[in-house]
Symmetry: C2
């Protein structure tokens, strides 16, 4: 349960200095904000830990660490993602203060605590509560909060260096090229900053984005956002492979946390990129609208041919069971390839993508319905990789994907994901420190 | 687990006659559809039952019974609601066939089965699958499917009796009057038919609405729809009271299934209404957008005064703990009422609503964000009552509610909820039989 009346485990004296309301809302001028929390006080909540709910034990993941959580963390069931623009400030101090405030609140919320010591109900009755309260009494629910920096944070589209960090922009951090099948809607992608909130309880994920949005008031505001209700990838061998809205298992061949060699090779930025980004990653988001009505009219055999796997088991059509390797050379009795030349699994196979692999972490979405009574549904694709080029390699190979007839990409985003914050520091400290 | 390769428990010979694809999609002319399934075959799936998932036992509620499920059923965590218009047919046979097809598929899905025997993967590879497949391997997850009839099903707004049922329209079934604070968006409410799908797994609720929408093809299409991620009411004393997006516990004083006298008195239609509706209910939906940014700036003491309860415990300001009765007469030391004259709990109290009570079953929603970067969030209010007048009584009393400053109602719907289908029959049989 949220430990509202108990001091955090660890260093209660420091934690009690907490986050002032001024810091939270920046109402008194943003210059004050960063000062109020300081580096050290953030660390005090690290050791606040696991939470238990009525149904059993709920997981709490540490916010601080070498890498940010929410990447190799076993994919939680629900998502609330938001991209922000720093529309209300051009002050470097404001940006740093915002990142400190976000880190402070994120460190608390991921441990099942309110955003500050006074939280939702322990403050003055004569002041607005620091925390909006809808997650009171809910456990941490596996919440992770992952913060990223878009290309425009470093240089606006007009070339302006608002925050004095243009020189530190990673060479790889740039909007993605146009792909065949792109139908991007203006204003529905990109962003100066992003936050990925994943949790096993959607109320906890929504609470996190809502409160981090509130904390950003006067500095940044939401540019676009997305809820996802069902994960479409496993990132751990301990997880069952979920299904996307085409009804197929998704993410069978995903990079798994239990394969650290591939994770290091494909996910974490090394020493060959901007120094401040070492131990970080790149995040790509693609909102993929599925034309589900058309797909639903395709015969089962054709659906399986398009994907290259069986619908039930998820086994490659070259034979075996779900986790059998895909044999791209396998042929049927008549000499025809068992995996079609345009099948999704063939074109996404690392042998077709210059060896590039992605750690996928996407979610199913339904955003109501369109005016024709069709569900506005699809896949909110998320991938992490050590270079956006990996995504470009994969997506370029998929340009001949038979699946393209049933999808269109309506939003695109790319963000640099800083390494995790050291205890007592904040996400982005390596950039500004 | 979905019992895809096993015959349903009970009467497998009959179940095997199952639902033909023709029946499912009405592609071959809707007149065929009802014939294909007949009454008796529907009953065969009743006894298919409980399902178990990796995490433990998952609940399966019977579809057939005296009342429809999804009313006094303990409120599940997630919602997908859809309203439909019969835009593509004026045939009474089509309507009856649709209700039979929906009942057939609903009876199966609520037991964790695919929509038909051949389902997602057991049909011909040369035909589109009957089931879209995204709930394969998922347990029933407490799914309930509740079907309702809007006023326009009986008579269009132009007075047309499309289906020969105008004479059976209940006198109470009419669009709600305009209330203060209404900001209804055209086309965003009402509907000829509705389906409420509730489940503890959103993928299961979405799967249900998607497949029932697909089954309706050529007969009805979605008019509007809504996903909800967190329940805002308990309908059983066994449930913890959840919180709405104002951060307050919601539904503390809700009607609970364990109080059958109140349920009978307030929820189920008796013999004093249309005969075909006895054992049914009326469903009211109100999409209530919350102005959460304004609310979040209100001081804690004022928030509690507006609601009339404490934010943490949810106790009435007249004293006690969460479930203490609200004492509307209690006064403070200075003689002031402890429950403010415009407090929400006062105006919603049955002493202020001519004794009318509601069984509430609402959900929190976030539909992304608006163009100003504010979360498009609120409460999708659902209530069941034996007469829409009860809702009108309550909502009229709430016209002076201090909370109105922070909400606006953007969608409204009212539906007659037929009684449950007898085993081997379908929802609506009492109307058409």
């Amino acid at each position: 349960m949220r430990q509202m009346n108990e001091p955090p485990v660890g260093k209660p004296e420091r934690a009690r200095t907490g986050l002032s309301r001024r810091g939270l809302f920046g109402l008194a001028g943003a210059g004050v904000a960063g000062v109020a929390i300081g580096g050290a006080s953030v660390g005090a909540v690290v050791s606040g830990g696991g939470a238990t709910n009525a149904a059993g034990v709920s997981t709490a993941y540490p916010f601080f660490g070498a890498h940010q959580a929410g990447i190799t963390t076993p994919a939680q069931d629900r998502l609330h993602f938001a991209a922000f623009d720093l529309s209300a400030t051009t002050s470097r101090d404001d940006l740093i203060a915002l990142l400190k405030d976000w880190s402070f609140a994120a460190a608390r919320m991921t441990q099942g605590q309110d955003v500050s010591e006074s939280g939702a109900v322990n403050g003055s009755p004569l002041a607005p509560p620091d925390d909006t309260g809808e997650a009171l009494n809910l456990p941490a629910s596996g919440l992770t909060i992952t913060i990223g920096f878009g290309p425009t944070l470093f240089t606006t589209d007009d070339g302006v260096d608002r925050f004095g960090i243009a020189s530190k922009k990673p060479a790889l951090l740039a909007s993605l090229p146009r792909f065949s099948g792109d139908a991007l809607k203006p204003g529905n992608g990109g962003g100066d900053l992003c936050i990925q909130a994943c949790a096993d309880d959607p109320q906890v994920a929504v609470h996190a984005i809502r409160n981090l949005t509130r904390i950003a008031f006067g500095r940044a505001s939401i540019r676009w956002s997305q809820l996802g209700f069902g994960r479409t990838s496993s990132t751990s061998t301990s997880q069952v492979t979920p299904r996307n809205l085409f009804g197929f298992k998704d993410g069978t061949a995903n990079i798994k946390a239990e394969d650290p060699m591939t994770v290091n090779d494909q996910v974490w930025v090394g020493t060959d990129d901007a120094a401040w980004l070492a131990g970080g990653s790149y995040l790509v988001t693609r909102k993929i609208r599925m034309i589900i009505e058309a797909w639903d009219r395709v015969m089962l055999g054709e659906q399986e041919k398009v994907i290259g796997r069986s619908k039930g088991e998820g086994a490659p059509l070259s034979g075996g069971t779900e986790f059998s390797p895909v044999d791209l050379e396998a042929e049927g009795a008549a000499g025809q390839p068992l995996i079609d030349s345009n099948a999704h699994v063939r074109l996404a196979h690392s042998s077709m993508t210059k060896g590039s692999q992605l750690l996928r972490r996407g979610y199913n979405f339904v955003d109501g319905n369109d005016e024709l009574g069709r569900l506005d549904a699809g896949l909110f694709f998320i991938s992490f990789q050590r270079s956006p080029q990996q995504f470009i390699d994969v997506q370029s190979s998929l340009s001949r994907d038979a699946l393209n007839e049933y999808v269109k990409h309506v939003s695109s985003g790319v963000f640099a994901i800083p390494p995790g914050a050291a205890s007592g520091s904040y996400v982005g400290a390596t950039l500004f420190g």
